[in-house]
């Protein structure tokens, strides 16, 4: 069953188009992440879904009911869509339980109490029920904000950069908690973020946006391993861009031959550093010299200059490998297990 259906949504401010022909279908209980840099239009899309912005064109349906089209515009208060804001936006004058109860204005007192207890239990903050927002930590506040939205039993939950103001450690924990809570309640969710890890951990599907245009829409694995263009490839991690020329059924690259069905005489190949192996001298290994070593904790990143073509490429090796700048080694393209490459 489709909960959210967006068709050809566009938004223009004066002459500046921020969203162009955006379409999306979200199934019930699915979590979709909208990801992109600042100004990519992701928050504007969220505001159009919630009803705070009117689209310039296109339509939005929630549970098969049109909430926004040329003829129809349903106000935010009538859409039954809940939203969690970047700064949690809890009411500073209300306690944690009253903040959650705020979402239950149409319920009886006993029903309200029951749902509040259930929500506090779900987020594991029962003991802080009487605390005011200023007496709680950022993570607790974000959990209360999430509980308030879920208590509303919305048709659709919108998370607008909910983790952007948390520190790295807390963020890591909160990602998993949010995912668990949303999955448990089977709430259809749209997450807006600029952090790829948020999107990968929380979402079932990811939509990559650039300048208001959809670049790719896929599962996290699909986005990472099969990026459709250089922008998506670079956005989600380090990547080597290598020139390739057709040779019979495959393509010749400075790193060896790749079998591919693509047409065209020339193309660029995008290869993730983890798909390049460093090893012993062999027939298909390419000699290269280390020009730079960067230590990243879990691994080391090497910048290599290929001896024949002089091209610079990046590879990653385990952190315990001992290497020096200027050292010569051999790198090999792992074509059999090649998962993260794309031709553009």
């Amino acid at each position: 069953m489709i909960t959210l259906q967006i068709e050809n949504l566009s938004k223009t401010y004066d002459k500046n188009t921020v969203v162009t022909d955006f379409s999306l279908e979200v199934a019930k209980g699915e979590i979709v992440a909208l990801i992109g840099e600042s100004g990519s239009g992701k928050s504007t899309i969220l505001k159009m879904i919630s009803g705070f912005e009117k689209p310039s064109a296109g339509s939005i349906e929630i549970n098969n009911e049109t909430v926004c089209s040329k003829q129809v515009f349903v106000e935010p208060e009538n859409r039954q869509v809940a939203m969690v804001f970047p700064d949690h936006s809890l009411f500073p004058h209300l306690s944690a339980e009253k903040n959650i109860a705020f979402a239950l204005n149409k319920h009886s007192r006993s029903e309200r109490k029951r749902i509040v207890n259930q929500m506090l239990q779900l987020i594991g903050l029962e003991e802080l029920r009487k605390n005011k927002p200023h007496q709680m930590s950022s993570g607790q506040l974000q959990r209360i904000a999430l509980a308030r939205s879920l208590a509303f039993q919305p048709k659709l939950l919108l998370l607008d950069e909910p983790l952007s103001k948390l520190d790295v450690m807390l963020k890591k924990r909160m990602r998993e908690e949010i995912k668990q809570i949303i999955t448990q309640t089977e709430t259809t969710t749209i997450l807006v973020t600029h952090d790829k890890e948020d999107a990968f951990v929380i979402a079932d599907r990811v939509v990559v946006l650039k300048d208001g245009v959809t670049q790719q829409m896929d599962t996290p694995e699909g986005i990472y391993f099969k990026p459709k263009n250089e922008y998506v490839a670079h956005f989600f991690g380090r990547v080597n861009t290598i020139h390739a020329e057709r040779n019979g059924k495959g393509y010749n690259t400075p790193l060896g031959c790749i079998q591919a069905k693509e047409n065209g005489e020339c193309c660029r190949v995008l290869i993730r550093p983890e798909n390049l192996n460093i090893g012993q001298q062999s027939d298909d290994a390419i000699p290269a010299t280390i020009t730079k070593i960067t230590f990243y904790g879990q691994q080391k990143e090497l910048q290599l200059q290929l001896c024949e073509s002089q091209q610079l490429i990046t590879v990653v090796i385990p952190n315990y490998e001992k290497v020096n700048v200027g050292q010569q080694l051999f790198c090999k393209l792992n074509t059999e297990e090649l998962t993260s490459w794309a031709m553009v």
Partner: protein, 523 residues
Amino acid sequence: MWTLTTLVVTLLIATPIIFILSHIFLEPSDAWLHIKQTRLNEYIYNTVTLVFGVASLSFFLGVVPAWLVCVYNFPGRKFFEWALILPLAIPVYIMSYTYADMFSSTGLIRKIFGSDSFLLFEFKSLFGAIISFSFALYPYIYLMAKNAFKQQSVLVLGVSRLFSYSHVSIFARVALPLAFPAISAGALLVIMEVFSDYGTVSYCTTPTFTVGIFQAWYALEDSQAAMRLSAILLCPAFSLWLLRWLIIRNKKYHVDSSQFNNYRFGQISKFSRYFIFTMCSIIFFFTFVFPVGQLIYWGCQTATEVIDKNFVSLAINSIFLALSTACIALFIAIVVSYTVKIRTTRMTRYLAAISKSGYTLPAAVVAISAMTMCKWFDDSLGVLTGMILSNTLVALMFGYIVRFLAVTFEPINSGFKNVGHTVTQACFSLGSSPSRTLLVHLQMMKPYLLSALVLIFIDILKEFNLTFLVGPTFDTLATDAYSRAISDEAVPYSSCSALTIICISSFFLLFGKISLDRLGKKS
């Protein structure tokens, strides 16, 4: 050096309070006993009734339009957003005598509706005083409430809307409780103005504490009784500030988000839009257009007789006095706030708080203490005939600064906060001296400096009570308007002075608004 300067300034500002409190413990005089037996109950009753009446009506006139312009789209919204501030340019006593004339036996109401109309009532009464104060002072609450409502817009127009609450529920359950600190601060400013006023209450024949202080000082010539009455008046003033502080302490009301600032509730019905428009129009009409219209009518009749060389020099004197005092106050506020910023200690914070306390002092209290201090200074120098400080411009300016310094602190503090600590730290780390660093700050605080200057300038230009008490030898537009207005036959002749005050104040308000908008766009 910065802390020492702040200490000296604070001591000077705090002296009036110390002076007044020191007189409570002296032996009561006969005049005081007479006042206590015959008039004190009347003063208390009138003051309390006036405060409740004005606070309630001003609350309605200030909070409701502030909410409407912040959350709804209706015809003329942008106009009303700033136009409803304009009554701030009308001194209360001018408001009272324009309305009193309309309700008089020869006034407009009787001419239009006849002498039997139910609309006719004796305006020179407690009720008339409540209307005059509320109509002229509600912009204090309006301004504070409007800023608070805008600041909380993410909660009102974002979160609450999504949870399907009615607009009335959102107003009552979210907007009002969150805006309480701002609205209560505005209401207290209004109440302090009521405590301070002499012109309106004496014109409306409603003797309050301030009238008692004036009478003790001038009619009974008993400074001790005046001081004692002042000390009593200080109690409710301080108690109200203390009560507000007790309510809001340890509570967080601030909502830091501007992303919903330009949002409004969705399309409302045509009837509702025009109902809101009519409501705002009625408020604007009765609080600004009506009294100013009456003054313009009088002004046209009397301008040729009133406007001469003396009038022009009176206007120049008033502007000079207001502008020079405003500049001195601005300088003091900058020094004190900057000291707190660069030398943050418990002592500097207390000193800054004391410097701001002047606004809690009713004007009459400030005037009495400034005069007594100056007299004491002159006496201790042994000057018998001449007066070095008493009744001079210096005493008057001192009184103005004590009373209005707090007005400049809010924008200046906000300005320093807005510049942020990183700029200060960057300046110092590059070897910049505190004075040079201050100059860097001031260049980044132009909108805030302008707001502070405009606010205090208007307050001083309108101020009548202090001028009347402290500087009878120095006439201003305010004292001229009042002295003509208290004589019934000469009421129309006061209109030129009153209109000049209103025009200059309105001009400064609009100039301040336009400049702030421009600076805001640039930044």
